[in-house]
């Protein structure tokens, strides 16, 4: 694929090289100065005090607080991922149905759950749904169902964009072979869409993982609740604990993002993009671009 970002500027000549070097130094120094200042202020506020950080040298801190929280986070994220992928496939296909009585309700569900803040949804499922169904909803399921409804709806839209971006010839050829609509969807369209939308799907899964942090609102013992709230109740080190927990989130999500990038490159194998480029030059990549940020 050709890339505009790589042709935005000339190879620097002697003057440009000097200018770039000066800018590099100036900006680099500015950033280092800022980091130094932050470090100093944290120092003055006593945030590097050994007592605040000592708990992180003990195994019990890790096993009982951080790792147990991390396990709960990953557990909820895994369940949410599986369910929202299923939800996404079902509702994207539903929204593309030929029957209005399937298409419209599916559309309404997807639009509604994309518009309601997750925080409200989890809270509602946990506190109000039990009055409806006359049985308690555990914090785990409140988080997982909330994540599924929201992220599943976003994924449904991503799948739909992906399905529509599959070249017409593919489905026409399948129909010509005598396949029925369900079969065309299942064997031709959805697999190709899933492949072209892989980066989008994985970046949405990163969002899902981050959103498990909202589980604190129903006291689900996830990483934020255990690692920041409960840990700091024991040791009084709320800022230090938050820094450690943030680093863990960043590492895990970066790994997932790297995976997304790698899958994206794998997905651009010999077949799919060639076919796409021949008929509709920018359709799959455009759909992917739109989806890639339809998240947050």
């Amino acid at each position: 694929m050709s890339n505009t970002t790589s042709v935005l500027y000339d190879h620097p000549g002697p003057r440009a090289r000097i200018r770039n070097r000066i800018l590099t130094v100036v900006f680099g120094v500015a950033i280092l100065a800022l980091l130094w200042w932050i470090y100093r202020r944290f120092d003055e506020a006593g945030q590097w005090d050994g007592n605040l950080w000592r708990p992180f040298g003990e195994t019990t801190t890790w096993t009982q607080f951080i790792l147990s929280g991390l396990r709960a986070t990953l557990f909820a994220a895994a369940a949410g991922m599986a369910l929202s992928l299923a939800f996404g496939v079902v509702f994207s296909v539903g929204r593309l149905s030929d029957h209005w009585w399937i298409r419209i309700p599916c559309g309404a569900v997807v639009e509604f759950f994309r518009a309601v803040p997750l925080l409200l949804m989890i809270f509602f499922i946990f506190y109000a749904v039990p009055f409806l169904i006359k049985a308690p909803v555990s914090a785990f399921w409140a988080v997982v169902i909330g994540l599924t409804l929201y992220n599943g709806s976003v994924l449904a839209e991503a799948f739909r964009a992906g399905i529509r971006a599959v070249p017409r010839g593919q489905s026409e050829a399948a129909y010509a072979l005598g396949m029925r609509k369900t079969l065309v969807m299942r064997h031709i369209l959805v697999p190709q869409a899933a492949r072209s939308m892989l980066p989008v799907i994985v970046s949405q899964l990163v969002v899902l993982l981050k959103d498990t942090a909202l589980g604190y609102i129903v006291a689900y013992p996830e990483l934020l609740q255990r690692g920041v709230n409960d840990l700091s109740a024991n040791f009084g080190n709320v800022v230090a604990a938050a820094i450690v927990v943030a680093l863990i989130y960043i590492v895990i999500n970066s790994l997932l993002t790297l995976l997304a990038g790698w899958l994206g490159r794998q997905g651009q194998g010999p077949r799919a993009p060639k076919a796409g480029e021949a008929t509709q030059p920018s359709a799959p990549s455009k759909a992917a671009d739109e989806g890639a940020v339809a998240t947050a």
């Binding site: 569900v109 509604f112 946990f126 409806l132 049985a135 604190y216 709230n229 409960d230």
Partner: protein, 288 residues
């Protein structure tokens, strides 16, 4: 139409999960008779789920895999009185806003979590106890002299937990104070230390627990002029009058045989505070 179906499916999944998790809990539709209340459950399953706070040193603090504190000890006394071994207790973290829903929905059998008895809550649940009477107070820096009570809060920044009784009292009775609300008191303490809030307010006993933590030793003091009376009760299902009375009997017995005092000595008493006396004549909140 679709929405309800999705919710119903989700709910069914949730239901099957929780039922599986809770073992022999036979539901909540029949809370009226004594056999199916908390006494019945304790007898038949030898298990209890007790909700406690997880972030209040001295009262209910989750230290890794276990909980410790005065509330936890009270929970153990009651479980014992109902014939449930310590190993049969499942502790569950409750937060200030989710205590009533937890009881109403049967997520927990009992709540012992610095739970103030009041009429608004009595509409939804019933209270055994009180087993302790706290009072709202202020925590300030050790060298602070200008905050002497709630009247001196005008224009000051006060930190508390959203949805809690102390926060509501400041809002209605002392509206001139600026209120900073979080989801946990632990977040108020570094602010008090840095001077970004002037006081933290909640019940004196909770404040004392925080002030006594190693991390903050000597930095804070409790003003010592409680401006409310917060009788701590034990929350359970509204219909369960028999269970409520039984818990009151257990509390009275604990006061008589010294196990109440022992619970105090083991937890909050470690800071030297003398054990309170449990006034058995006040155990009158159970529904008729």
């Amino acid at each position: 139409m679709r929405i309800t179906r999705v919710v119903a499916v989700a709910a069914a999944a949730a239901l099957s999960f929780t039922v599986a998790a809770c073992g022999g809990d036979d539901g909540d539709s029949s809370g009226g008779s004594s056999a199916s209340g908390i006494i019945g459950k304790a007898e038949s399953s030898k298990k209890l789920i007790i909700g406690v706070k997880s972030d209040q040193p001295g009262l209910g603090l989750q230290t890794g895999s276990t909980y410790e504190g005065f509330d936890v000890e009270i929970g153990k006394i009651i479980a014992k009185g109902l014939g449930v071994e310590e190993s049969g207790i499942e502790w569950k973290t409750t937060t200030t806003p989710n205590r009533e829903p937890f009881i109403q929905q049967g997520t927990v059998d009992l709540v012992v979590a610095t739970y103030t008895i009041n009429d608004e809550r009595k509409q939804k649940i019933s209270f055994a106890g009180p087993y302790y009477v706290a009072g709202q107070d202020l925590l300030v820096k050790a060298d602070n002299t200008d905050i002497t009570g709630p009247e001196s809060l005008a224009g000051k920044k006060v930190c508390s937990v959203s949805g809690s009784t102390p926060a509501k009292r400041i809002q209605t009775d002392y509206p001139q104070a600026q209120l900073q609300l979080f989801d946990a008191y632990t977040k108020c303490l570094p602010l008090l230390e840095n001077g970004q809030v002037d006081a933290v307010t909640t019940d004196d006993i909770i404040l004392a627990g925080y002030a006594a933590q190693d991390q903050y030793a000597g930095k804070f003091k409790v003003v010592g002029k409680p401006f409310s009376s917060e009788p701590y009760g034990i929350g359970l299902k509204k219909e369960d009058a028999a269970g409520c009375k039984k818990i009151n009997e257990i509390l009275a017995a604990a006061a008589a045989d010294g196990s109440y005092k022992a619970a105090w000595e083991k937890t909050l008493g470690k800071s030297g505070a003398p054990a309170p006396t449990l006034d058995t004549s006040k155990l009158t909140h159970c529904p008729a």
